[in-house]
Symmetry: C2
Subunit: 369 residues, 2 copies
């Protein structure tokens, strides 16, 4: 089975590594000829807006998938629907925050209140309705906290809007006073069978995921996991989805609000490589290739910690009990995700201690600006 | 870290796959330009007796290792000792059954009684001493039961000896009336730290490993695991060994006899990919690269079943709970190892049922001769 992946980052790399033992041969494209998938699977350098070359490239592929949202609409719509999983509408609905929010609204799924803004007067009116603080976001191309600004004062808005608003479409959202954040990963097969990974607590620092782990028993309050699954099912069915999808939630005193969703494997579920019977990467491939899904149950007590900006000593990392290292083969750069570790322990106490230790060890050094 | 592997079979393939997440980049050579490691790591076609090209190839390698014993002595001795792990003496001692047996004899490690035979008269005398049945084996290049003949009658020996004895050096061994077979995998670091995987029961069919799994509690009789570890330590220290070594044992009423040993990762420990904290493949790489060793403890209850000659339907295999598939990307051929599955379960009863089922499913079809 030949799988073509649009995008050559660490997600494509981990998909390719999960594919080899199943004789699923991944091929990747990326505008960057040195993208990190290229070490472990054939990589062709093609810009995502070059539909002609992409259509030529996919001729050898049994199935096509993608590892990132930022693919031009014209490209994604040019791909043959019968071989593209997840389907084009999933990518189109999630690559634009306004469409994503409107889909939730249509399905009665709770999100932060929102309003599109094309002019500073619209921003002023929206803030009047939503209240302060509010969050101004680009509708497209945001990731890891990029393309977001918190507005705390009603005036002056002009200079602020002028900096970003004339360039790209924007959306303004009510600022959610959440208690913590969570993410749910699920996988849906061609025949509609759906399996859920355990609901995962996520923690961001400077807009980048710092750690993620399945909820502890004391975090399982007020039926949030059933609510998360119900929302997931509504979205998967509405999109006629195939593959792994991840929804990020705000956990509030009144239950869950959808923050955003990703039509792909996701950083918050990297712990599933060691921590679930079948990882998100293998299950995505199984789903899109039409194979039976793997089990999503936990194996031990796990957490993922991202390695951002720099990688500490291999000797120090690899001497920690229960630690599994995943480097992406990328050049270090401040704020760049270079790898992650998964901690797996037989009991939750050891996991908590191990997580504290690794968070101390892996702090990004202060960068002088 | 660049690791050069001599040999491009499934062991090299699984080493390379274990290396990528640690940013350990494996490179492989093999006489066969289509060897199955080539999909997952760069492969250069070089015959093992071409020392000149091999010495050129290893210039870029930080460390050199091997995945098979059948490398000419001249080649292995030409490699730089400081970068070669396991050391040359480990390969030389194990690629020749006579040297292997003599090493055991020197270290007072029990094996079947043996005698080298260069002439039919020596074979007759040896059989007179060892008794019948006896096993005639080639000293080199045997694997998967190839190069072995059981002798049950003392006469006539001439036609039999003539068929093989004039071509290659031979050894004759007492036939061991064993109860079952076991294998121990261990890993030794550059600084001498040694860790043991659980002692594993192995079962051969037609000379090829059919299944392997850690001993059940009722098989842990008469201190065989401590005996196996004592033998392993003696051999690792005598050889100043670095990396994974596997010893295969006959389990008899009087304890263990060493059958043979492998200076490399081994089929009997493939279950460690899912079934141990750190797999034999990752631990071999950690050891030879000078990194701290990973933990060798079990995760759940596991077994490996080899897929020999043909691979049953992917849909049937992947629908079995607890099954993890490892295909090697090789062309099917009767008697060829094409992949393996690891079964992992939370309790031993489920593992036993699952193992029975998979053994039924994966029988090699009868081949008409």
């Amino acid at each position: 089975m030949n799988v073509g992946i649009l995008g050559g980052g660490q997600l494509a790399r981990m998909l390719a590594l999960a594919g080899w033992p199943l004789d699923i041969r991944c091929r990747t494209i990326d505008p960057d000829p040195y993208a990190c998938s290229g070490s472990v699977a054939p990589l062709t350098a093609i810009p995502f807006d070059d539909s002609t070359r992409i259509l030529e490239w996919i001729k050898d592929m049994d199935v096509i998938t993608y590892e990132l949202e930022h693919i031009p609409q014209a490209t994604i719509e040019s791909l043959p629907a019968s071989r593209l999983h997840p389907p084009a509408q999933a990518l189109l609905a999630t690559q634009d925050r306004l469409l994503e929010k409107k889909l939730c609204e249509k399905l009665s799924i709770p999100t932060a209140a929102f309003s599109p803004v094309a002019h500073v007067n619209e921003l002023r009116n929206a803030i009047g309705q939503l209240g302060l603080p509010a969050v101004l976001k680009t509708r497209r191309y945001g990731y890891d906290g990029k393309g977001q600004w918190i507005i705390t004062q009603a005036t002056p808005l002009e200079p602020f809007f002028g900096r970003v608003g004339t360039m790209v479409p924007l959306i303004v959202e009510q600022h959610v006073d959440f208690e913590w954040e969570a993410a749910l990963a699920a996988v849906r097969a061609l025949n509609g069978t759906t399996r859920f990974y355990p609901l995962t607590r996520t923690h961001q620092e400077k807009g980048i995921l710092r750690w993620a782990r399945p909820l502890l028993p004391n975090e399982q309050s007020a039926g949030i996991e059933p609510q998360a699954r119900e929302i997931m099912i509504a979205l998967l069915e509405a999109l006629n989805y195939v593959g792994v999808m991840v929804i990020e939630f705000f956990v509030t005193a009144n239950g869950l609000l959808v923050n955003e969703m990703a039509p792909r494997v996701h950083n918050s579920a990297h712990w599933t490589i060691e921590g679930a019977e079948c990882s998100q990467f293998e299950n995505h491939l199984r789903a899109i290739c039409g194979y039976p899904l793997g089990a999503t149950e936990s194996v031990g007590h796990c957490a993922t910690v991202n390695l951002v900006g720099h990688v500490m000593s291999m000797n120090q990392l690899l001497s920690l009990p229960g630690l599994h290292l995943h480097l992406y083969g990328k050049m270090p750069r401040p704020g760049r995700k270079l790898g992650h570790v998964t901690l797996r322990h037989q009991d939750s106490g050891n996991l908590a201690r191990s997580l504290d230790q690794v968070l101390k060890y892996t702090k990004e050094p202060l960068i002088k600006s």
